[in-house]
Symmetry: C2
Subunit: 195 residues, 2 copies
């Protein structure tokens, strides 16, 4: 049933399928055939639209990063004070959608993938820089001098909580993750005042 105008639909389906399958099998172990099957098309079509496996994986990563960026903007739009804005970043980071096993797993795998794929590494650096500068500008208002270090600590903490979520079943739920990170943040403010 080749109706015209399928390309964007197929691309989207393949990217979604890639995220899900990477979550299950890992970025290296996943096969184009698995992704294509989940998307309901042949592996030849996946190659037709994306050129190769690497391009498909990069597209999947770009999608994840875009979704995350959108979530950050959405949450930031509702925040006024620097404190609210920090919490907004945390809420975006630990949104239930991001804790879906296949998403967490895909993130983790993309971190690894970035070690060997230059384009993936570039994307990840952009994401890190953006997150860092967002946190930094808000922390400056709360912490003054220690803002840079604080932003790096919070960034690392976010990733660390993520990492733990990628493993065993006893993972933290979103609310716990937010509360835990906010606690570290409020401790930072306390620490900055006297000391």
């Amino acid at each position: 049933m080749p109706r015209t105008g399928m390309e964007p639909l197929r691309r989207a389906a393949l990217v979604d399928a890639a995220i899900a399958e990477v979550g299950v099998h890992g970025a290296h172990a996943v096969t184009v055939g698995q992704i294509a099957r989940r998307a309901g098309v042949s592996s030849a079509l996946a190659h037709h639209y994306f050129g190769g496996k690497a391009d498909l994986l990069v597209a999947a990563m770009r999608q994840i990063l875009r979704d995350f960026g959108a979530a950050v903007r959405t949450h930031l739009a509702k925040a006024d004070t620097p404190e609210d804005r920090v919490e907004a970043v945390l809420r975006a980071s630990f949104e239930p959608a991001n804790f879906r096993p296949e998403v967490v797993s895909a993130w983790l795998n993309f971190y690894v993938h970035a070690q060997t794929d230059a384009e993936a590494a570039r994307l990840l650096r952009v994401y890190h820089r953006r997150l860092h500068s967002t946190l930094l500008s808000d922390l400056r208002a709360c912490l003054g001098a220690g803002a840079k270090e604080g932003a790096e600590t919070l960034g690392a903490l976010i990733d660390g909580i993520y990492l733990r979520a990628a493993l065993g079943p006893g993972s933290p739920d979103p609310e716990t993750a937010i509360r835990r990170a906010m606690k570290v943040f409020s401790n930072m403010k306390e620490g900055a005042h006297h000391g």
Copy 2:
């Protein structure tokens, strides 16, 4: 030149080579041939001693975990107060040896590998539990009620700082990592005292 008594030497060389090659290529992408070549033997010999690729990777992971455990014990032996013991754990975690690119990368890859390999997952859980209970018992002395949460936060922070080290070139050096984590720890104590 088949001298007898080679087995333990070959096993050790293969495990070391596996760690290094996993660091370079990733757990899934690495081949038995690459590992064997680095160890200076044929791939057939690697199979002879280890049975299969999965067993070799698990052995490599076990080695990393064992090294880390030994480092923790060494540092703990020199610590008396709970505060010193927490710092000892941090020093062991962020020891320069652990920041060698291939080691960081191997850790990261094993995290991913554990998602699909049951034995790897088990090993990682054991490591997590041990680290957690060590931190927990020391934090109880400093923080009382918030010890459990504090231990989980510190554990996640350690992993997060590691994760960042696995990426771009602007990674933190060991001393910075320790200072940063200790700052979070001391903030926790402050926070526990008043309010």
